[in-house]
């Protein structure tokens, strides 16, 4: 199924390249349609992985070890999927290199004052650093696999494990490198989606031109990312029988984060309304009333319901610890966050300053196929990862077991160490 989705994506992209961006439902005021919606959606999904691996690592949250590996993998694949969209939205994709910092054939360099170029650097760096982080975390586990494998597999794994021997002289530098990467990735996580938000906020379109955008986008990204981590974790846990490693306590902690970030997103929605009213800027006031009660009211209320109301159920401990409830809620979060990007992008563009230029945006079949296909790309990568690489960080899980602490043996009677 994932592969057929991938084929669908390739087909849809092929048709786009052949025919041009006219095959999408874009019209004159709405020059940014699903491509940017999907891009922001997928980049947002990626954020939870880095949050789990970097920020929770710095905060010494040892429960992260159960979920960090596949959350990081999810990040990388989500960012790859996201990067497809700015790549293809230019229409003439063979000219996409215009976005890179190299002079074109007229020796003109790109404009570094443009937020779109910031995006290239922010997302490019994000992708590179996430991949490095993931790979460094994988090295000891690849060595474990290498030592159990035979023949060709052993050679391939041995190549990627780089000759890891688990010596303390290696661990010493390794831990330092991991700490440094976490330290560098933490501000990066917060900056990437801020830059994506700045793409919107530096414009003068009503409804986009607000200073709340960067923190609001980051909260939304973490929210949607945790929604996706939860969806994937619940499925993987069920299929591979990981109930002892990804325990209900881990899931509950993720639900708490969803509750917090979901409430932050809801708070941001209300702040936008408040500031629009408080500023008494006619266009700003109109943009928000139009969002909630205009032609896209249906999308707005889907978003509101999924993002603000759904997570509130996690105030109740019973619901927070119920697998079916959290599964449904995580799907709702994913849907809601896609609609959030849709609402922001399309409602503001379709009705800007001049009523004469207003138009209603509806997607074409190619928009839909490209979006559905992007899930194919994501899941193809993800399933390959589950098949071939350790989905739980082996060495890190061992490292938080009580038996890994030397004091455990010195005082056997009382248990020490942070993990359960």
């Amino acid at each position: 199924m994932a592969v057929s989705g991938l084929m669908l994506l390739l087909g849809a992209i092929g048709w786009l390249v052949w025919e041009g961006t006219g095959v999408w439902g874009l019209n004159n005021p709405v020059g940014w349609g699903w491509a940017i919606v999907n891009f922001v959606f997928w980049v947002g999904i990626g954020h939870a992985g880095t949050l789990i691996s970097a920020i929770l690592f710095l905060l010494r949250q040892q429960w992260r070890t159960a979920i960090n590996r596949f959350a990081e993998a999810m990040t990388i694949f989500a960012v790859i999927t996201a990067l497809v969209f700015p790549g293809i939205h230019v229409g003439r994709i063979w000219l996409a290199y215009y976005m890179f910092p190299i002079p074109n054939q007229m020796l003109i360099w790109p404009n570094f004052r443009s937020p779109l170029l910031w995006d290239i650097f922010a997302v490019g760096t994000y992708f590179t650093v996430s991949t490095l982080f993931w790979y460094v975390g994988l090295i000891p586990d690849l060595a474990t696999l290498r030592d159990r494998a035979t023949k060709v597999r052993k050679k391939v794994l041995g190549f990627f494990a780089l000759g890891w021997r688990g010596g303390n002289r290696q661990w010493q530098h390794y831990e330092k490198a991991y700490l440094m990467l976490a330290g560098l990735a933490t501000p990066l996580v917060l900056s990437v989606h801020s830059v994506v938000a700045t793409d919107f906020a530096t414009s003068l379109v009503p409804g986009w031109h607000t200073t709340i955008f960067p923190p609001y986008f980051v909260a939304g990204a973490v929210f949607s990312g945790f929604g996706m981590v939860l969806t994937l974790a619940l499925i993987a846990r069920k299929i591979y029988g990981l109930e002892d490693i990804i325990t209900i306590n881990h899931l509950e902690k993720m639900n708490k984060i969803i509750l917090v970030t979901g409430s932050m997103v809801g708070y941001a929605y209300m702040t936008e309304f408040f500031i629009a009213w408080y500023s008494q800027n006619d266009f700003e006031v109109f943009a928000f009333i139009n969002r909630a009660f205009g032609p896209y009211a249906w999308a707005y209320w889907i978003m509101f319901l999924c993002n603000v109301i759904t997570p509130q159920i996690f105030w109740f401990k019973k619901l927070r610890r119920s697998i079916p409830v959290m599964f449904v809620a995580s799907i709702f979060v994913n849907i809601g966050m896609w609609f959030e990007r849709f609402v922001i992008t399309v409602t503001s563009l379709s009705r800007d300053y001049l009523p004469s230029s207003w138009d209603y945006f509806s997607p074409s079949i190619w928009d839909i196929l490209t979006f559905v296909g992007s899930f194919g790309l994501f899941f193809t990568f993800f399933l390959l990862f589950l098949r071939f690489l350790p989905m739980v960080a082996l060495s890190e899980v061992k490292g938080v077991m009580p038996e890994s602490d030397p004091h455990y043996y010195h005082h056997k009677e009382k248990e020490v160490g942070g993990a359960k």
Binding site: F121, L162, L184, E396, H410
Partner: protein, 177 residues
């Protein structure tokens, strides 16, 4: 031709390994290492290792990255091909800050990873210890001390006796080409 490359001894758990590390260090060995499936806290002190210099490498590279980022944009926007865009100044450093920051992080991350590889002498496709069959368990659940042939105090029989005296088991001469 096969020759001895070092000695390997197995210990039961992290606590024994850390005690063994102290004793090996106190006995005057320098080219030894303690192998475990996960990092053990307190092992650096037990082995008498200095702090990892990686922080300095990363620090230097982040500064390099940031300087390069700002200078590169300055050169493009104000020297190589100045273009007036919406009347903004050529060197509008506020707008250049994001790319500068991205390069700061990017260079630092490369520094962390490749600095770690350099300090750990990675990647290498082979190592004398891989001649040992039991050593394969180190990435699973075993704890080893290895002493290399190059060590000034190395002596085939004496080193083996010493490791046995501090509680090592499965002592093995690592033999290979």
């Amino acid at each position: 031709m096969n020759q001895t490359l070092g000695v390997l001894a197995r210990f039961a758990n992290p606590a024994e390994l850390i005690d063994a590390a102290k004793k090996v260090r106190d006995a005057g060995y320098e080219k030894f290492d303690c192998h475990s499936p996960f990092p053990i806290h307190g092992m650096d002190d037990a082995m008498g290792l200095k702090r990892s210099p990686l922080g300095y490498i990363v620090g230097a590279l982040t500064v390099t990255g940031a300087t390069f980022g700002m200078a590169f944009q300055y050169w493009i926007a104000a020297v190589e091909y100045p273009l007036v865009i919406s009347g903004k100044p050529f060197f509008s450093w506020q707008a250049f800050f994001i790319v500068t920051f991205a390069l700061f992080v990017l260079f630092g991350a490369f520094g962390a990873v490749f600095g770690m590889f350099g300090l750990n002498r990675l990647p290498r496709l082979h190592h004398p210890l891989f001649y040992s069959d039991q050593f394969a368990k180190v990435t699973d659940d075993a704890f080893f001390v290895s002493i290399e042939l190059d060590d000034a105090k190395f002596d085939e029989s004496k080193t083996q006796e010493f490791l046995a005296s501090i509680g090592g088991t499965d002592i093995e001469l690592v033999v290979g080409e």
